[in-house]
Structure formats: C-alpha cells, structure tokens
Point group: C2
Chain length 196, copies 2
Amino acid sequence: MSDIKIEKNAYHHGNLGARLIELGLEVLEIEGAEALSLRELAKMAGVSKTAPYRHFENKEIFLASLADEGFRLLYKDLLNARGNEPGSIGRMGKAYMAFAVSHPALYRLMSSSLLNRMPDSFKVWARKTLVLLSNTLDGVQNDENLPLNLHDTTAIWAYIHGLVLIRIDGLYPQDLNQPDWEQLAGTAFVLPSKTS
Amino acid sequence: MSDIKIEKNAYHHGNLGARLIELGLEVLEIEGAEALSLRELAKMAGVSKTAPYRHFENKEIFLASLADEGFRLLYKDLLNARGNEPGSIGRMGKAYMAFAVSHPALYRLMSSSLLNRMPDSFKVWARKTLVLLSNTLDGVQNDENLPLNLHDTTAIWAYIHGLVLIRIDGLYPQDLNQPDWEQLAGTAFVLPSKTS
DNA sequence: TTGCCTAGTTGGCACTGCCAACATTATTCG
DNA sequence: CGAATAATGTTGGCAGTGCCAACTAGGCAA
C-alpha cells in the first residue's frame, strides 16, 4: 500500500489502459483483490483519479479485463506444459495447479461470477482454455478445432478447478494433514464417465 | 434495495446478532454479495448504522459468520440426502449441487478465501461437512468419527465443488450446449485414485 | 439506591466508485 | 497548413462505505 512507486509522466500517458492492467496484476498478487481500487491504481500510474474511466467503463469491467488476461496467462502455461509426448494431461494438471498457487488472487478473480455478467468478448481466453483442455483430452493438437467431448472435459475441469480452489482458499481444515496437492493435480485426469 | 421492510423496535433489540445473519442471507440471495453492507442491514433491522459492531467486530467477521451458517445449512441438506440405502453418495452429490444453485451468492461466499483468514471457530460446519462426506464414502454412519480416507474425499469434494462453481459462476461458455449438470453431479463420486 | 455492564446512538473521518464540466493534446481532413 | 474534432486527462463533488470515539439508555446485581 505504501512502498509502491508512483510514476510521473506527460499529460498523455501513452498506454494507460495496458499499464493499469499490469499494475492491477501486481496489486492483486501483493495485496489481494479487496485492496484493489481504481483510484490507487491511478495514483500508482501517476495519473488523476478518474483517468482510468477513459479506458474502462467501470470497475467491474476493469476486473473482467484482468480476469481475461489471467486466462491468457494460464492458457500460455498450459500450452507450454502440454508438449508432445504422452502424459501431457497430467502435466497440464500440475501446471494448472502451479498457476493458481502462484497467482491465487488472480485465479479467484478468474473464477468469480464476474465473467458471468460480461459479454463474450471478455471470455475469449477462458474459452480457449476450455477448448485446449478438451482437445488435449481427445488427443487433438489443433487448437482451433471445436471440442469433441465436452462432458468429460467439464468433469475434468471441475476436478482441477475445485482442487485448486480448495487449496488456495484454505478450505481444507488446517489442523489435518494436508493432502499431496501436486499428486492430486497430476492424477486429476481420470475420466469419471469412462469408469461408471 | 428499496422494497425491503424496515423494522421498528425497542432500544434493546433483543437478538440483533441473529437477526443480522437472517437479513444477510436474504440480501445475499436477492442482491448478491457486492450489495451487502452492514449499514444497510442495520437500517433494515431498524437500528443505527453502527449497532452491528456490537455483535461483529468487523464486516469480514460478519461475512465469515454467514459462511459458517451456510455450511450448517449445507450439512443439513447433505445429511438429509444421505438416508440409509446404497447410492447415498450420488444423492448427496445432487443435493450439494441443488444447494449451491439455490443459494449461489452464499455458496460463493462459503468458498471464498474468507475462512482462510479466520480462526477455526468459524470453520465448525465446514469441517463437519467434510467429515460427513468422508464418512459416507467409507460407509461409516457415525458422524463423530474422524475421517479415514482424506485423499479420496478431497478428490471427490474437489470435483463437486468445482462443478458447482463452474455452473453458478457461468464459467462454462454460454454459447455451447450446457452439460447435464445434474447427471454430472450424481456421478461425481467415482474415485480417481481407485482407477489409476 | 447505586453503580456497572451491555447494547445502541450520534458525529465524523478517510476512503471508494463514478458523474459533470472543463482542459489539453493528437489526429484527421478541407 | 490550419481548424475542427476526437481522444485522453484534470478538478470538484456527491453518495455511499467501513469503522472509530464519545456519549447514552436500560437491565441487573450488590
């Protein structure tokens, strides 16, 4: 809240919108979502308190932009983890977990009810992520295809999503032995529907 | 926000703490978590703006109390769904989904990072719920026992938790055919670890 | 009766999102 | 080139919030 540098700039910042997203991600990681105010971000960017409204209609839309950016980053990590050899699904599970653990506040934002209220243009990367999961499941490497098996994909996504949230939200009782989160994330991808 | 009755009462309300929880649950369902302010609840209860602070140290603690109450209600529903015959795990999955769908804002609050920052006294019912799930899995009917198989229980909890959140947060792309959520919730309980 | 304790009151501060009106710079086009 | 115009920022201000400090009303016990 106090030791974050304040920028000084010309009248026209040049790229305030993008800069606010960057700063927003920082604040999110360091101080959490509750501490994130547009006014403070504006101050950090060295700009007046209402300048952000020239780039984002309101706070909710700003947060939704942050969430979309989060899905872009997650997508990148998952793509990276996939590689070519078999077992990629397991690696993607671990990458998914790793992402959420290193950006907990961002991941929480991504999985809030925010995007629910937004037009599809804010769900570009969320959707791509789902498709990536689905295609990997089906052994498809072309990410532009439409997903084939959405039922199973949903089950698997739900599993890793819930696992990650239980962990980062500290829902698991602290006085019990913690489960092996990494291992659970790696074996995430056994299909319920294939065994029932 | 406007058509909610305001109560008139004597100086000493008698049970303001409990009344605020009730009103909080109402506001949560009707207007969502963002619209919930202690000041408005106080007004609804016919009491001055800072009276709530005599019962809850701060807003976060009030919200945590709401979340705990939520787990109590969920626990009750799950216990009800369990019954005695086999297949109870599937019924509990559906009951879990039904609870979240009819109290989405409350469920979101229950699964926020709030409880993370609270002492264990706010996690009484969250813990009981986990134990109930675990014991049902193991075929144990005595809910006072310690859970046996926390690894599998965590996996299953993660699955239903994630499924429910994906649904109520509208994370699933709206333009795709929606999966059969009920069916997914009912077949939630296939153990990953038993098939890998 | 006295006096304490609990529950509730009023006033106020610092902060927030966001609106209206205005100022400055950049861009486009006659 | 110069002027209109659009894009981007600025200031002042409003209503709402959480929460603090100081005060008060009423119930209960000694």
